[in-house]
Amino acid sequence: MSPQMIDRVWQALLDTLFMVGVSAGIAVLAGIPLALFLVTSGPHGIFPAPRAHKLVGTLVNGFRAVPFIVLLVALIPFTRLVAGTTIGVWAAIVPLSVSATPFFARIAEVSLREVDAGLIEAAQSIGCRRRHILLHVLLPEALPGIVGGFTITVVSMIGASAMAGAVGAGGLGDVAIRYGYQRFDTTVMTAVIAILIALVCLVQFVGDAAMRRLRAR
């Protein structure tokens, strides 16, 4: 590989890390409240709101049903509104976040639902208000599962970010397609694949380690 190409791949790695990092952050900030809402607003939840529950549930399913590449294009007007542009890294972050949030929320929801109802009762019996139950029972008890779900989310976001090239956001996937595939540069293709594999392994390793630490208590 030419030094130029190495530079390009390096820049692409940074772009990918930035896109995925920011989008993952947004997915957590938006996804956890969303998951808490989905868990607690059901008819037997601690904040019952059956209608809103159904509406949000449907919306989440809707977003999850749309393939990312379609979402990327379909969201262009929204992206322009939010990011002020429709090309570049920020233009990719909007659809990435929009796609990752419902995905992560559903996974986090499963972990939150697995929290033993007896713990919520015990909390009520000692005079916890509902916000205390969120803070002291649901979130900490579900944390190992949520961390595991976050790992899965980040890994699938790394995959999805390969399509960000479609809006000129760059990133590893973009380099692989433009140079590796379209210009038959096998070395670039191999290098990018190796970097992606290493990246995914690293994310998985860190996620698993964190989860193991939490579960060991």
Binding site: D116, G118, L119, E121, A123, Q124, I126, G127, C128, H136
Partner: protein
């Protein structure tokens, strides 16, 4: 445990180290004043659960009074409504009709703040302990105070006190998953007691524990009741638990009260078939060889076999028994429940003259002739 004494200073109960109490003054200081608070009344309480599969009436017009400072047992078959009844006391469940009063105050009318305040006066422990796995023992026990906004320093001392009370001061920084069942329940008790409740609800609190641990936990509960005057309402399926610690008991059957009263009376002379069925395991039947030889009618020179049932009204006086008639003891199972002798004896009365039995009858206890055995046996 051993190093502790209890001391009531107006209002909340405080624990003080025995050393401090001993130097502070006479034994009277250590003695605990029983508090009047802690009464629970159920007035026509009914509960119907509605679900997709139909309605289930779990409670049917329950009227019951739990006096302050008692240990009140709730027994009944599985599904009889025991948990439903207990859970109306801290409003984990709301009655469909009727009302529950705590210290004379109807709890249905409480708003959220009132309910939270009520729950801080009522501790609860559970069969599966329900401890938070992500928090240490100390954090679990502290939680009721943390959410009540008690200052940090105060929480620390208070948590230390209750951990000492339940004998777990050395496990404060451990996570619950590293504790045995008995230790977990002690943490549960500590958490329930940390805000000085006047009532403690126990839903099958010893059902997941082995017999030895059960006994230790029961002793702890009895201790707490005696020294702090806390009313304890407990559900159990182990009759021995009731016999061991309760003063009163209510038997539920299909959501209704089958019978209720002091344990010695209910256990000594069970009236309702449901109670008898529950007590069955405690009652020793006839020995197999005896029942095989038992004949309904007296053969010449036969010995009468009598069953004498004591239901707490009198104490078997063996000397008078022997003086009244030539009796031979075949089997006996008499226990003291709250100072009342309860149980039965099986005796063979030789030379069953008509007045021998009358003389035995005069000694108290209910006599029943269950048959005869041949004299040469």
């Amino acid at each position: 445990m051993a190093g502790l004494a209890f001391d009531t200073i107006r209002g909340p109960v405080r624990w003080v180290a025995r050393g401090a109490a001993a130097t502070a003054g006479p034994a009277a200081r250590i003695a605990t004043e029983k508090r009047a608070a802690g009464t629970v009344s159920f007035e026509g309480v009914s509960k119907t659960y509605r679900s997709a599969s139909g309605a289930v009436q779990a409670l049917d017009r329950i009227d019951l009074e739990v006096p302050a400072g008692t240990i009140f047992g709730i027994i009944g078959r599985s599904g009889a409504g025991k948990s439903s009844l207990l859970r109306t006391v801290n409003r984990l469940e709301d009655p469909t009709s009727g009302r529950v009063l705590v210290d004379g105050e109807p709890i249905a009318e409480l708003d959220m703040a009132g309910l939270v305040a009520l729950r801080r006066r009522i501790g609860m422990i559970f069969q599966h302990f329900n401890l938070l796995s992500a928090k240490t023992v100390r954090q679990n026990v502290a939680l009721p105070l943390v959410v009540a906004g008690v200052p940090r320093a105060e929480i620390g001392t208070r948590v230390d006190e209750v951990l000492r009370l339940v004998g777990l001061e050395d496990k404060a920084e451990t996570y619950p998953s590293r504790l045995s069942g008995g230790q977990k329940q002690r943490v549960g008790i500590a958490r329930a007691l940390v805000s000085n409740p006047e009532i403690l609800l126990c839903d099958e609190a010893t059902s997941a524990l082995d017999p030895e641990t059960t006994l230790a936990i029961l002793r702890l509960l009895r201790d707490i009741n005696r020294r702090l005057g806390i009313t304890i309402i407990l559900i159990t399926h182990e009759m021995s638990v009731i016999r061991e610690v309760c003063s009163n008991v209510v038997v539920l059957e299909q959501g209704r009260i089958a019978e209720t009263g002091p344990v010695w009376r209910v256990f000594g002379s069970p009236e309702h078939p449901a109670t008898r069925a529950l007590l069955e395991p405690l009652i020793r039947g006839l020995p197999a060889d005896l029942s095989a030889r038992l004949q309904p009618h007296p053969a010449p020179g036969a010995t009468a076999v009598l069953r004498i049932t004591f239901s707490g009204q009198s104490t078997p006086d063996l000397a008078s028994l022997a003086a009244a008639a030539p009796v031979r003891l075949l089997q006996a199972g008499i226990e003291q429940i709250q100072g009342h002798a309860v149980g039965r004896m099986l005796v063979a009365v030789g030379d069953a003259g008509p007045d021998a039995e009358a003389r035995l009858r005069a000694l108290g206890g209910e006599i029943e002739r269950i048959g005869y055995v041949a004299a040469d046996d």
